[in-house]
Assembly symmetry: D2
Homo-oligomer: 385 residues x 4
């Protein structure tokens, strides 16, 4: 602290992500020695009443129901776009055009052309940062996996397996906006598979070359309306499956579901390399499982690393608690925010930050999956632009 | 025991499966009260020296290096075909034609036309039994899953996920017959995915309607020769991935690998139904994981049932040991053999026995996967005959 | 929020616990709608330089190097004693005498007579609250265990088993104050077993009647000095074992170690009742394991409840994130602080708050263990006062 | 095989242990190349009808209802005593006196003086072997632990923790002989803790020096009679707890229960050494958990070794199935029997075989526990003879 430089934040959105991001802004400077001070300048959302309460509770200096006011606010340096997907385009683009840094929730947009437009604008404003909240890169266990892979502990990676399972989307759940393509773009695909594809790309440094088949399955096509007692159509995927090949030759599978009874937030990735395997599951986010095929054969086993020990050099551990004192979900946002401020302040991010380009590459994969499912055939990524 | 009727067995093959099946014949009558006596009449294999030792060690009454002698032996009632895949056709067909019951190792054959021919012959000899060694149906935990699903505990099943992972096939492994299409038909697909497809069909009672994409990946195309120091070509899949839709609308994924470092025999199946989920993994074969979504929400959790308790009505438990005294791999063969003898002796099999038709249906799915991987498009099962 | 009433906090201590408590004061009002506002009025510690930085980083309005100033500060309502054990007595007693509420770190004191004196003073000031930071009661999974036990789900409890294992205390660790009886009172016993005894009492509502044997084992009696290169004597227990009987007849074992390689913060408690069992382990703090012996026998199993679902009525879940989005270590302090404010503001604490009396009862058990280990015989609690 | 030498076996007992041992005699020669042939000569038990059936089912050449006939049978070389505890003395001693080798079920006897008498006789007949069925030493994972400890992988061992939990002894269970001291000697102590103490001694090579406290708890003192509808007294421990110090300074805890809902056969041992920890649980008997504190800190974790791989040098693996194809409970008896035959045939046992002396040392510990529980004080082993 004691920094002269200050980063002044404006955030659009005050729901789930609004809370998660606000928490990062409140706690980032408390747990990290950042090269810049942090000021929570302004928050924007639609409903005045709840917004006022939200702003007070989280310590935002001011609030507005007009997001355009916020993106033009000369006292704001970084605009955080934490709204539903269909709003991202306008808010991010206008923020760039007003000279702001931007950090945007994933996915960038509901369609690929819109995402492309967004990165074009981002690229035009090279001096402004353009981040995306792929927060799971900064589960310490995931960051450790990144470091291990990059130091060659897996050797050549042959296969990746991702499942992201939740179970809140049964027939008892009404027709939320998340079940309408118009608002959400897609279902489990954009909501969950997006995270998995980002993790796979992040950890392997590799890009998808081809989608080798996909299934997008809407189990419940009719759902209760939120109000009024009737039913309406759901047109997004409850379950998504896709196979892919990467440029290196590595093959991969991705699965996501909102109907997997028993799984609450089971974001799991496994990587099989020539020298070993790694396994991570968000429901036990402190743990990284590692199989080291280079140990003496008699003692090889799946090892569970408790990734929380500063003295062992575990990522982010020195900023938090002693070994074995677990972190939770929202810490991933704090870690990402700290890395963003570090990078903006001229220091190095611990592991690479997710950029608009990353998010765009993820969306190309999802788009290829949509086409593959529809057309019943492989889709080379080169055809998806 | 004390039965007057006797089942006289002739077995072809004396390697891995020869041991596993012999063990079933030795121990079946010891742990089960069978309606027929069991006599281990004759065993056939190629190498006389090792065969003699094998026959003595396992208590076979006689041996021969000519399998045709065995299938014609009038003192044999049941012929067990436990040889490499390419031999199954001739041995099984001639056994049928000589009036024998047949139990054959999986897969039936290396190609679909041959498998079709085999079931045709099997059907012609209706009074003779035709079984296949899909032994994993009789892990007690799998049998319990079958019973639970059939009593409606999962409700409608929406999704199945199978992985079968091993790690013995790295570049250090020479060019065994299992790496040549000519001998083995395929790699991980026929060896491992076959088991998974059988389990999925067995547990759900459902059939594949379409393969929605597949990847068959040969990572190591050149392998050391077993002798002589050079290398030769491997032309089978080290890693197999496939997506499928079933007639009921259920969607499924199947994955198998011989290169998944850390997994020795990880035959795992998960099923997500509207009322709950089930999960089984052969590496912890005593355990069945169950999530009951009909319990009070506050107490719902993934439950691990130790499937070993006779008093609880667990399958096969009364034939073995007290609760918590685990069974092992080979017990699955003993259980299947006991059910076969029960059925042949007029009693009821505890859960359905795998038939030649079952094995043929499995092979149709694998064939569709091969085509899908090659052609880069979906393959409806109706096109695979 | 929007409360007119305000709770003004003064905290003594700025190390590990100082951070953990500050975090609770910062975030409590953000995640909970509390009946009183919270003001972080003043923090006291010895080292001015680091204190200044600490105060700024955490948002304390003022700081002082003289704790007596703080306990007399008329603008402070609640004094938080977060210093090493030997300081607790004076700070807590003077805080009471100055009319403050007090929340004290555990254990109350290094000796039982001092602890007794402290609760005497606490009792004299009945209108002032006297809490202790037994924070693990408010792991949501522990709170759920409390609710389940209290609603009869375990029936009569027959046995409790507690282990609290860490591994930071090997010979490579120098002679910290924690290794000197003079400063710390004891080793693993007061540091770790104290938590376990509190959990056992909290969950069962039962009191220890007798200690039936104890071992306090100092493995490394000589340790490197922190400075200067020589060595000095460690006179506290590295490993503590004790057996106990409770008033209800329930029997219990407690174990703690700082030398259990592989365990970072393995605070585990298991309870066996007539109707079922419960199991909790801090290293997987989101999970509560439950065995319900009243389910149909065929489906009984150890169930892992992911205690994070507001809709399921899980404790504290509605204040945090959606289901499956884990909490971490420090959330337990936030939860306790919120309950303290609720109680002080006239609302109800979700589960009982740990009082000075609770901490005193815990210390009686530890004292009995010390005597039992020394004298080599059982120690009835009635003899420990 | 092909051995000229033959070992001719006579077994007394035909219940649970009779089956387990018979299985070892049937299958030992099938899975191991033994230096002697094996003949199942004679079996003795009380009930003629069931004995006849048993003898036929397991392939015993003859049977008798008079065990004295068996121990004198000149065609028997090895007498297996598999009867209830109170019978062991007479049967073992007379077998020795008739020149037989003896293998006896554990515990040797119901009282220490009787056990002492038995080992005296055993010692007198030095040329005859005297083994005890502590079969769990030969779970491959336990044998691997033995090898690892002996090659120094744990360094100095500081602490051992054993629990052996079952749950069949609730109030619904009638007054079996196991609940009467007269027949069983003790309850969970002799039945379960005996195994744990043997494992602790076997793995560490260390001896108990002192019992530091014990609790023997009879929860249900009145149980339904097996017949007639009334109730009778149970006078053995349902739950046993004890603390102990070993000669090396190592400390230990032992717990056993028949009332631990959810645990079927949870025989667990953990060892903490200076260089690492090991953990074994019979309910997952293929797995050995190892924490290697000598790996680079960043990658240290609890590793689960799947102990089933011949190529990796895992104990007994080459005699059974390929890697990942699990063994079950009864294989431990087969492994012990094979080692016994190896030793009798002049070859080396893979790991040390349990002797009468071992069993006697175990009983001294249990006796010390009984006294400690009764007298409420420590009992040095030197006082127990």
């Amino acid at each position: 602290m004691g920094a002269e430089k200050v980063l002044r934040i404006g955030m659009i959105g005050s729901k789930f992500m609004g809370r998660a991001h606000s928490n990062a802004y409140v706690n980032g400077p408390r747990f990290f020695d950042l090269p810049m001070g942090v000021e929570m300048k302004q928050v924007a959302a639609q409903d005045e009443e709840s917004l006022k309460k939200f702003a007070k509770q989280w310590g935002w200096e001011s609030w507005t129901t007009k997001w355009r006011e916020l993106v033009k606010n000369p006292e704001v340096d970084l605009v955080d776009v934490g709204t539903p997907n269909e709003m991202h385009r306008d808010q991010a683009i206008e923020a760039f055009e007003n000279g702001k840094h931007v950090v945007c929730e994933k996915p960038l947009a509901n369609t690929l052309p819109i995402a492309r437009e967004m990165i074009k604008v981002a690229k035009k404003h090279k001096k402004q940062k353009a981040y995306v909240w792929f927060n799971y890169r900064r589960c310490p266990a995931v960051s450790l996996a990144y470091q291990m892979i990059n130091s060659g502990r897996l050797g050549r990676i042959l296969q990746v397996r991702c499942v992201y399972l939740q179970d809140w989307g049964g027939p008892e759940t009404p027709l939320l906006w998340r079940f309408k393509k118009k608002h959400a773009g897609s279902g489990a695909l954009g909501d969950l598979v997006a995270h998995s594809v980002d993790l796979a790309r992040f950890l392997t440094g590799d890009d998808v070359k081809k989608v080798n088949g996909a299934v997008l399955h809407t189990v419940y096509k009719e759902r209760m309306l939120l109000e009024g007692g009737g039913t309406g159509k759901s047109d997004v995927d409850d379950i998504s499956l896709l196979l892919a090949s990467f440029k290196s030759g590595m093959v991969a599978s991705f699965e996501a579901s909102r109907l997997a009874r028993g799984y609450k937030n089971h974001n799991k990735i496994e990587l099989h390399g020539e020298k070993g395997s790694l396994r991570f599951n968000l429901e036990r986010m402190t743990e990284l499982d590692f199989y080291d095929a280079e140990l003496p054969a008699k003692e090889q086993g799946w090892s569970t690393i408790n990734v929380s020990e500063a003295g062992a050099g575990h990522p982010y551990a020195e900023n938090w608690w002693p070994a074995g004192h677990n972190l939770g979900y929202e810490h991933t946002f704090v870690n990402q925010f700290a890395d963003m401020v570090n990078e903006m302040g001229g220091k190095k991010s611990l592991v690479p930050l997710p950029s608009f380009e990353d998010a765009y590459e993820v969306q190309r994969v999802l788009e290829a999956a949509v086409r593959s499912a529809k057309e019943g055939c492989d889709i080379p990524l080169s055809q998806v632009k």
